[in-house]
Symmetry: C2
Subunit: 355 residues, 2 copies
DNA sequence: CTGTTAGCGCGTTCAA
DNA sequence: TTGAACGCGCTAACAG
């Protein structure tokens, strides 16, 4: 049985009375505003500390129309990518006194909408959205409208015309690096396993593959560019298809780590040795990549920086420091290990683990 | 340049005026309270929809002293464990209309305190804390005080005397299962690599190891029980120590997946074959465990269920349905793969991947 | 430099 | 069944 203790045991008025000043003076002292004598200010601060005064944020928010909260929408917080994005964003926001209201919406566009609605109803000062249907569709329109109610930054997703900016990985460049490297190893029959193409990352990575293939004038292989979902199981299925083709590719690029794991499993099942009979490389650099057998050659990037940069963009817009929408591309780089056919430096291997 | 649009374009009063009733009547209609005629209620609801009315949660919160938010404190949101806990908690809370305010505090007790302070200042209705110094210390006391201001459930941490409950893994049972299984394989020289023992999981897992070792009357090996931190690098270091002992163990239990990966790397570096020369098993079942070479025998559990159960406990306390603190233990189970020396069923292997 | 007043938007008395 | 009045706790406008 809980005793119904008041949520605000000590109010500003209590502090003021204790010192013998008005509430507005106490408010000024605590917020460091206005001009007032040093001794009353000190007295108020002391009284506040003695009484263990904590301002009510909701009362303050009602008055100032500022909640000091940011809404964050992610499709799957349990995925390390979004976890790291969240970490990066949260640390930047926290430094500026903002708190994060998190909604794990899943991928369904309708759920994303509901998530944004909920966040707006909490009167968040801004929105960080890590998933969104691409513009143009029915969902796209209303998303634009929703996002217009508050400053909004899209992460890992370009949303032309909506929001105050977006921060996206250099998807095309990353996949190009992977293809280039396979070509350096002498491959020309290269397959690709991608993700859903209704979203930026799936779309841009596949485009990156086609661009690189065209640049190197690689032969177009029948059925060697496949689209799956972002899971190990899907990678296994698509990989098995690719590897049982009449003329299977000698190398495969995947659009994510999970897809690569699936392809690796498929190769093992078919007794195809990696990298001797099949080179395998992927976008994403999971922390266990050096420990796979063979260790996985990857395109790596700073996931936390994505969230941090998104948060910075958003804060700039909220605080009026930014005037126009901006698109930030986060750089990626190639990490050569053994699955591509490279020899792996044992010293580097250990260094990677200890980092 | 942002136009300073009012954050609440349409207020309850606007809806009321449109229908021609008082604000209090409109409030009653929208909240389904009081007794009022069906037609006015319908008219109010329609007007609210037409005007696209959204109640101001902060105004409501100021009045009702309920914010419909729950504070969640995690040490590292980018770790899949806390990501999954968050996912589980969020989905349960969302179903009941609560939103999650997330703070990624890190491990430092002082930072955890600050996180809780921030959440309390936002007047969250309850707290879910995934990390906490064990009671007794200086931090323990003030934590108890902090947690007393709002219903609080501890996750993955027992906090005797604080909060309305906790939900914790069956740590001891899990480690016992691992030891039992190694003994079945004929091992008696078993080493252990654990995590920091200032927290529940590190402590209980090590105790579980000692209990199981005593039960099986295993010989006590000098320096074969080691304490590290929860990283791959630490596992590597501790594993290397263990494996270069004059009489190294023939099997190693680790308290986490990261530690196991480190030990695996150390074994490879020392050219010790797993499982032929060293059996290796661990607490935690990461999704890539089946794809390691050899695939890793683990203690698995439902991570999301931990968060979900914590949320349920908290909601029960908030809504007054629960009367006393309760401790929930989440069951664990053994997943046999190849690193322990078992033969791995290929059919099972594929089934695991596709799940 | 300080006090008084008013009101953010809502829910909940009390009275009709 | 409905309306008028009040106040949650705070900050901003205006006076002094």
């Amino acid at each position: 049985m809980r005793t119904s203790s008041p949520s605000h045991p000590v109010r500003l008025e209590d502090v003021a009375r204790r010192v013998g000043v008005s509430a507005s003076t106490a408010s000024r002292a605590l917020n460091g505003l206005g001009e007032l004598s040093d001794d009353t200010r000190a007295a108020v601060l002391r009284a506040a500390r003695e009484l263990n005064y904590r301002p009510s944020r909701v009362a303050r928010s009602l008055r100032t129309r500022v909640t000091m909260t940011i809404g964050l929408v992610v499709p799957t917080i349990s995925h390390p990518f979004y976890g790291a994005v969240t970490h990066g964003a949260q640390s930047v926001l926290d430094r500026d006194g903002y708190s994060v209201v998190l909604v794990d919406s899943g991928d369904d566009p309708a759920a994303v909408m509901r998530a944004i609605e909920v966040l707006l109803s909490h009167e968040v000062d801004g929105l960080l959205v890590c998933t969104a249907p691409l513009g143009g569709g029915a969902g796209g329109r209303s998303l634009v409208e929703l996002a217009a109610r508050r400053p909004c930054v899209f992460i890992d997703e370009v949303a032309p015309g909506a929001g105050v900016g977006d921060v996206v990985l250099d998807n095309g460049v990353g996949v190009s690096m992977l293809v280039d490297h396979l070509v350096e190893h002498g491959h020309s029959r290269i397959g690709y396993v991608g993700g859903p193409e209704d979203r930026t990352s799936g779309l841009e990575r596949r485009r990156g593959f086609f661009d690189a293939a065209a640049r190197h004038r690689l032969p177009a292989l029948d059925g060697a560019v496949r689209e799956g979902v972002w899971t190990v199981g899907s990678g296994f299925e698509q990989g098995a298809c690719l590897l049982t083709l009449p003329q299977p590719p000698t190398a495969i690029v995947t659009a994510s780590a999970e897809l690569a794991l699936g392809v690796l499993a498929a190769a093992r099942r078919l007794r195809i040795r990696v990298p001797d009979e099949l080179a395998l490389v992927c976008f994403d650099d999971p922390f266990f990549a050096p420990l796979l057998e063979p260790s996985l050659t990857c395109v790596a990037y700073d996931t936390r920086a994505i969230g941090a940069e998104g948060a910075r963009l958003l804060l700039a817009a909220i605080e009026g420091r930014s005037n126009q929408a901006s698109e930030t591309r986060v750089p990626v780089h190639l990490v050569k290990r053994r699955s591509c056919g490279c020899r792996y430096d044992p010293a580097f291997e250990v260094a990677e683990l200890l980092s």
